[in-house]
C-alpha cells in the first residue's frame, strides 16, 4: 500500500546503508518474534475471532476493526505511519509498521499488552519526556487501538 510508505519527497530520505541496516534489524526482530510469539498462550476467549492468532488475542476485549476506526478517527496518522489507515503518514513519532513485533514501545518500555493500553491512552505517565500527549480516551478505546496495533506485523 502506497500510503504506508514513509515520506516520499523531501529531505528525510533514508540512505541505502540505513535501509540495509533496517532490513537486517527487522529480520532479526521477526525471528525473535516468531520464537516467542508461538509460545505465548491465548489470553482471552473473545469469540469474535475465529482464527487462532496469539498476537491478536493478547488484548482482552479489544476488537482490531474498531481499534482501526478509532485510530483513524483520532488521526493517529498525523504523527505515525500506520499500515491500513488512510493518510497515516506522519513523521512526528515512530512508524508503527510491524508493531506486533516491536520489542519496545517508544524505545522505552517492553512491548507488553497492559503497558501498550496505558501508553496509547496516557504515554506521558510512562515516559514523561515523550512528545505523545495523553488522550481523552476511554479504557475500552485504548484496548481496541492496542488490539489493532498488534495486528501489524
Amino acid at each position: 500500500m502506497m500510503q504506508c510508505r514513509p515520506q516520499h519527497a523531501g529531505k528525510a530520505r533514508t540512505s541505502r546503508a540505513e535501509q540495509a541496516r533496517a532490513a537486517l534489524a527487522s529480520a532479526l526482530v521477526s525471528l525473535l518474534a516468531a520464537c516467542t510469539g508461538s509460545e505465548e498462550p491465548a489470553q482471552s476467549s473473545n469469540d469474535s475471532f475465529q482464527s487462532f492468532d496469539p498476537q491478536v488475542q493478547r488484548i482482552v476485549g479489544g476488537d482490531p476493526a474498531i481499534g482501526r476506526a478509532i485510530a483513524a478517527a483520532y488521526e493517529c496518522g498525523v504523527c505515525h505511519v500506520i499500515p491500513g489507515i488512510r493518510g497515516a503518514h506522519g513523521i512526528v513519532g515512530p512508524p508503527l509498521t510491524d508493531f506486533a513485533r516491536r520489542q519496545y514501545i517508544g524505545g522505552i518500555v517492553p512491548n507488553h499488552p497492559t503497558v501498550l493500553v496505558r501508553w496509547v491512552k496516557d504515554a506521558p505517565s510512562i515516559a514523561p519526556n515523550t512528545g505523545m500527549p495523553s488522550f481523552d480516551m476511554t479504557e475500552d478505546e485504548a484496548r481496541h487501538v492496542a488490539a489493532y496495533l498488534y495486528t501489524l506485523r
Binding site: M2, Q3, R5, H8, R86, G87, H89
Partner: protein
C-alpha cells in the same frame, strides 16, 4: 471562358444529376511526358531534405501525427492524475507535481492536441476535398507545423525539469502573477501558449484563403462540402477569438516581467479582466474544436449511409449560427464571480440558445441515417458513439447554463464530466472516426476493422465509466483541481471507478497505435482508394500532386452524381492536366461561385521555412528561461529566415503570362488586387491584429469602469494636447506618402521608380516619429506604467503601436529592397500592395488609440 458547362445552380443536388459537362476540356490521349513532368514537379524531396517538404500531403500528415503524439502524452498525464485520485489521501505524487500535471493535461489537450489536430486535418483534407493541388500558402502551413511541433515539444519537456506551469489551464491571476507564482513555470505557459496561438492563427489564415480561393471550378458555396463550411467558420472564429488570448497572455507576461499592474486590484487593475479576455477566447475555443469535428461527421454520415446529407442548408446555417452565438456566452464561465443578475440572465439565455444549432445538426444526421442504409463499419461505430456521448454532454451543458444549478456544479467534478463528454464526444470520437474513415486516402492500406472495433468498445465503455461517474462525484461535492481528498468524504469508490475507466480508454488508444503501426503506410505515392464508396472529391484517384486534372463539378457529391468522373480526372481530361507553368501550380477560383480566376504558382520544398520556425521557437524558449542574449540571436535569425523565405514569394507572372488550362480557358499566372490570394490573406491578418487592438481598447475601458477614480480627471495628468496632435499629423503624413508611392507605382511605370522608393523610405521616420511623440507625451506626465492599471494600459497601447510601427517600417524597407533588386513594378506589386494595406490600417489604429487615450478622459471632465 466556358461558363455554360460548369456554372453552378442553386437547385438541389439530385435534380442536377445528369448535368455533367458533356464536352470535357481536354482531349485524350495526353501528350507524352506530361504526367511524368507533373510527377517530377510534385515529387517530395529525398533523404534528409524530406523535412523541407511543404506539400499538404506531407505537412498535413506530420501535423496530424504530432497532434496525435501530444494527445497520447496528455493522456498519459491524465492516467497519472487518475491513479493519484484512485484512493483518498493517496501519496503517489505530491501536490506540486499534481498541480503541474493537471495544468499540463488541460493545456496540452486544448492547445497542443485539439486545435492543432483539427487544423492539421484541415491542412490535409481541404485541398483534397476541393481538388486543389495544395493550399495557397504551403510554406505558411509548414511554418505553422514546425513552430507548433518544436515549441510544443519544448513546452512539454518543462515537466521533466519541474518547471511546468501549475496555475491551471486558465491561469487566473493573481495566482499566476509574479507575487504568487515567482518561478518561471507560468512563463512557460504564457510564452509557450502565446507562441503556439500565433501558429494556430497562421494556420487559420491559410485555411480561410484556401477554402475561399482554391476550389474545384463549379464548387460554388452551395456545393461546398460541409467540412469546408465548418472549417471556414472555424478559421474565422480563430481569427476573432485567439487574439483575445494573445492579448491576455501579453498583458500577464508584461505584468510578470515589468510589474505593470493590469490584474492587480490594489493598484487599479482587475483580475476579472483576465477572466473576460480568457473566456472571450475560451468559449469560442470549445466550438473551434467542435465545429470541424461536426463538419467531419457531416461528411462521414452520408457516406456510411450511402445517401446525401439531409438538410444541407440547415446544417450550414447551424454552423454559422454556432460561430456567432459562441462569442456571446463567455460569461457562463463566470456565473460564480458575483456579476449582476441581469448579465447572468442574458448569458444564461445565450448559452441555452447555442444548444439549438447543435440540435439541428444532430437531427440532420439522424435524418440522413433514416434516408439511407447505415453500413456498420468501424467509422460508423465511432459516429454512433459520438452521437451518444455528445448528446449526453450537450444535455449536461444545458444544465450548467441554468445559473442556480451552475452555482452548485461550477468547478466540481460535474463540470469535469460535462466538458469531457462534450470534448471527447464532440471531438475525439469524430477524430477517431475520421482516422478510420480517411486513412485510406493517405495510406496504401486501410486501418483494421477488427482492431478498430476493439478500440471503439474500449474507448466508448471507458469514457462512460470514467466520466459518467464523475457527474455523481461532483454532485457529492468534490471540487476539481484537488490533488487529494479525505477518506471520510466518501468519494473513494467513485474515483476508483473513474480511474479504472480511464485505464480502459488508455488501452483503447494503445490498440489504436498498434493498428497504426501495423497498417498505416503513408508517403508511398499510392493510397487504398475509395473504400467506402464515398461521393466527395478527396476520394478521386490522387497522388502527391493530388488529382491528375482538376475537375469541373456540378454537385455536392460529384463522384456519385457525375458518371465517369474519377476516370476522366485520372486520364487528364479536365483542367490543368500537367505542370503548365513548369513548376507547382493550382487554380485560384472566385470565393462565391468558384469560377477560375488565375493560376497560382506554388513554392516547392523550403528549408528557410523550417529554420525560421526553429529559431522562432528558440526565441520564445530563450525568453522563457531568461537567456536573453541567445533569445535575441535566435529572434534575429528567425526574422532573417522569414525574409529569405518571403524573398522568393511574389514571383510575378510566369514565363508564359497566360496559360491554357484546357477547353480554351486561358488564365493569367499572376494576379494582384482584391482577386489575389495574398490580398485576402492580408485582409484576414488585419482582422487578427484589429481584434488584438480591440481587446486592448476593451481592457482600457474595462479598467476604467472598474476603477474610474484612477483615471485622470482633467488635463493635469494627461499629456499636453500638442503631443497627440503632432503624432496624428505625422501618422497622416506617412499614410499620404505611402498613398503617393502607390500612385506612382501604378500610373507612371515608365519613369524612374525613385519617387516611389523615396516616399516609402520617408514614411518610415514619420511613422516612427508619430509613436515616439505619443510615448514622449506620456513620459512628460507623472504617470508611469508600474503605477496603476491606468498607467499600465495607456503605456501598453503605445507599446503595442510601437511594435506595430516597427513591423511596418521593416515592411517598407523590405519593399524598397524589392524595388532596388527589380522585383517591384507595375505588374509585380503584391508586396507593395500588402505593405500599403497594412500601413493604412496601422495608421488608423494609431489614430484610434490617440483618440481613446487623449480625448476620452477629457470628455469625462
Amino acid at each position: 471562358m466556358s461558363d455554360t458547362t460548369y456554372e453552378g445552380g442553386i437547385a438541389d443536388t439530385r435534380a442536377r444529376q445528369q448535368d455533367t459537362p458533356v464536352h470535357l476540356p481536354n482531349s485524350t490521349p495526353r501528350p507524352e511526358g506530361e504526367l511524368e513532368r507533373l510527377k517530377q514537379v510534385w515529387r517530395a524531396p529525398r533523404g534528409f531534405h524530406f523535412l523541407s517538404a511543404v506539400n499538404n500531403n506531407y505537412v498535413g500528415v506530420w501535423y496530424v501525427g504530432a497532434a496525435l503524439l501530444f494527445f497520447v502524452l496528455a493522456g498519459a498525464l491524465a492516467l497519472i492524475i487518475r491513479t493519484q485520485l484512485a484512493q483518498p489521501e493517496f501519496r503517489l505524487i505530491g501536490h506540486d507535481l499534481y498541480n503541474q500535471l493537471f495544468t499540463m493535461h488541460g493545456t496540452i489537450m486544448m492547445f497542443l492536441f485539439a486545435v492543432p489536430m483539427v487544423e492539421a486535418m484541415g491542412v490535409y483534407l481541404l485541398p483534397n476535398m476541393q481538388a486543389a493541388r495544395d493550399l495557397p500558402f504551403p510554406r505558411l502551413s509548414a511554418y505553422a507545423f514546425w513552430a507548433y511541433f518544436i515549441g510544443g515539444t519544448a513546452f512539454f519537456t518543462s515537466l521533466f525539469f519541474g518547471l511546468a506551469p501549475n496555475g491551471g489551464w486558465f491561469m487566473y491571476p493573481p495566482l499566476t502573477s509574479y507575487k504568487y507564482s515567482p518561478g518561471i513555470n507560468a512563463d512557460f505557459w504564457l510564452l509557450g501558449i502565446g507562441f503556439i496561438e500565433i501558429s494556430a492563427i497562421a494556420g487559420a489564415i491559410e485555411i480561410i484563403v484556401g477554402i475561399l480561393k482554391t476550389r474545384a471550378p463549379g464548387q460554388s458555396l452551395d456545393k461546398l462540402p460541409i467540412y469546408s463550411w465548418a472549417m471556414l467558420i472555424f478559421a474565422l472564429m480563430i481569427v476573432f477569438a485567439f487574439p483575445a488570448i494573445i492579448t491576455a497572455t501579453l498583458l500577464l507576461e508584461i505584468e510578470r516581467a515589468f510589474h505593470w499592474p493590469f490584474f492587480i486590484a490594489e493598484q487599479g487593475g482587475d483580475p476579472l479582466l483576465w477572466q473576460h479576455l480568457f473566456w472571450f477566447f475560451g468559449h469560442p475555443e470549445v466550438y473551434v474544436i467542435f465545429l470541424p469535428a461536426a463538419g467531419m461527421v457531416s461528411m462521414m454520415v452520408p457516406t456510411m449511409a450511402q445517401t446525401p446529407l439531409s438538410g444541407y442548408r440547415l446544417v450550414v446555417l447551424a454552423i454559422i449560427a454556432t460561430g456567432f452565438l459562441s462569442f456571446g456566452l463567455w460569461v457562463h464561465h463566470m456565473f460564480t464571480t458575483g456579476l449582476p443578475t441581469l448579465s447572468l440572465n442574458f448569458f444564461s439565455a445565450a448559452s441555452m440558445a447555442v444548444a439549438i444549432p447543435s440540435g439541428i445538426q444532430v437531427f440532420a444526421w439522424i435524418s440522413t441515417i433514416a434516408s439511407g442504409k447505415l453500413q456498420m463499419r468501424t467509422p460508423t461505430y465511432f459516429l454512433l458513439g459520438f452521437l451518444f456521448i455528445f448528446v449526453l454532454g450537450g444535455l449536461t451543458g444545458v444544465m450548467v447554463a441554468v445559473v442556480p444549478f451552475d452555482w452548485q456544479a461550477h468547478d466540481t467534478y460535474f463540470v469535469v464530466a460535462h466538458f469531457h463528454y462534450v470534448l471527447i464526444g464532440g471531438m475525439v470520437f469524430p477524430i477517431f472516426a475520421a482516422f478510420y474513415y480517411w486513412a485510406p486516402t493517405a495510406s496504401s492500406r486501410p486501418l483494421s476493422e477488427t482492431l478498430g472495433k476493439w478500440v471503439f468498445w474500449l474507448m466508448f465503455i471507458g469514457v462512460n465509466v470514467t466520466f459518467f461517474t464523475m457527474h455523481i462525484t461532483g454532485l457529492m461535492g468534490m471540487p476539481r483541481r484537488t490533488y487529494t481528498y479525505i477518506a471520510e468524504m466518501g468519494w473513494g469508490t467513485l474515483n476508483m471507478i473513474s480511474t479504472l475507466g480511464s485505464y480502459m480508454i488508455g488501452l483503447g488508444v494503445l490498440i489504436f497505435l498498434v493498428d497504426l503501426a501495423k497498417n498505416f503506410r503513408p508517403f508511398r505515392g499510392e493510397n487504398a482508394g475509395n473504400v467506402w464508396n464515398a461521393g466527395t472529391l478527396e476520394w478521386l484517384p490522387s497522388e502527391n500532386y493530388q488529382t491528375r486534372s482538376i475537375p469541373i463539378i456540378t454537385s455536392r457529391e460529384p463522384i456519385w452524381d457525375q458518371p465517369n468522373l474519377a476516370e476522366d480526372v485520372k486520364a487528364g481530361r479536365y483542367f490543368l492536366p500537367g505542370a503548365q507553368t513548369g513548376g507547382r501550380e493550382t487554380i485560384i477560383t472566385s470565393p462565391i461561385d468558384a469560377r477560375p480566376q488565375y493560376i497560382l504558382q506554388l513554392p516547392g520544398p523550403s528549408w528557410p521555412t523550417v529554420l525560421a520556425a526553429l529559431f522562432t521557437a528558440c526565441f520564445f524558449l530563450g525568453l522563457t528561461i531568461k537567456l536573453y542574449i541567445p533569445a535575441l540571436v535566435c529572434g534575429i535569425l528567425a526574422i532573417a529566415f522569414v525574409i529569405w523565405w518571403l524573398w522568393g514569394s511574389d514571383p510575378g507572372p510566369a514565363v508564359d503570362p497566360e496559360i491554357d488550362v484546357g477547353g480554351g480557358l486561358v488564365l493569367p499566372t499572376y494576379m494582384t488586387g482584391s482577386m489575389s490570394h495574398s490580398w485576402w490573406a492580408m485582409i484576414v491578418l488585419i482582422l487578427v491584429t484589429g481584434t488584438v487592438f480591440a481587446c486592448l481598447i476593451f481592457s482600457y475601458f474595462f479598467l476604467w469602469t472598474v476603477n474610474p477614480d484612477i483615471w485622470p480627471r482633467s488635463g493635469e495628468a494627461l499629456p499636453w494636447f500638442g503631443w497627440p496632435i503632432g503624432a496624428a499629423l505625422l501618422y497622416v503624413a506617412s499614410s499620404a506618402l505611402i498613398w503617393f508611392a502607390g500612385r506612382r507605382l501604378s500610373h507612371v511605370p515608365e519613369r524612374s521608380s525613385w519617387p516611389t522608393r523615396i516616399a516609402l523610405i520617408l514614411a518610415v521616420p514619420l511613422i516612427l516619429g508619430a509613436v515616439s511623440l505619443e510615448v514622449l507625451g506620456q513620459l512628460s506626465t507623472e504617470v508611469r506604467p508600474t503605477d496603476s492599471g491606468y498607467g499600465a494600459v495607456v503605456y501598453m497601447l503605445s507599446s503595442f503601436q510601437g511594435f506595430f510601427v516597427t513591423v511596418l517600417s521593416v515592411m517598407a524597407l523590405y519593399t524598397v529592397a524589392r524595388s532596388l533588386t527589380g522585383r517591384l513594378n507595375r505588374v509585380r506589386r503584391s508586396t507593395f500592395d500588402n505593405t500599403h494595406l497594412f500601413w493604412h490600417y496601422g495608421v488608423a489604429q494609431g489614430l484610434v488609440a490617440l483618440v481613446v487615450v487623449h480625448i476620452f478622459p477629457r470628455l469625462l471632465g
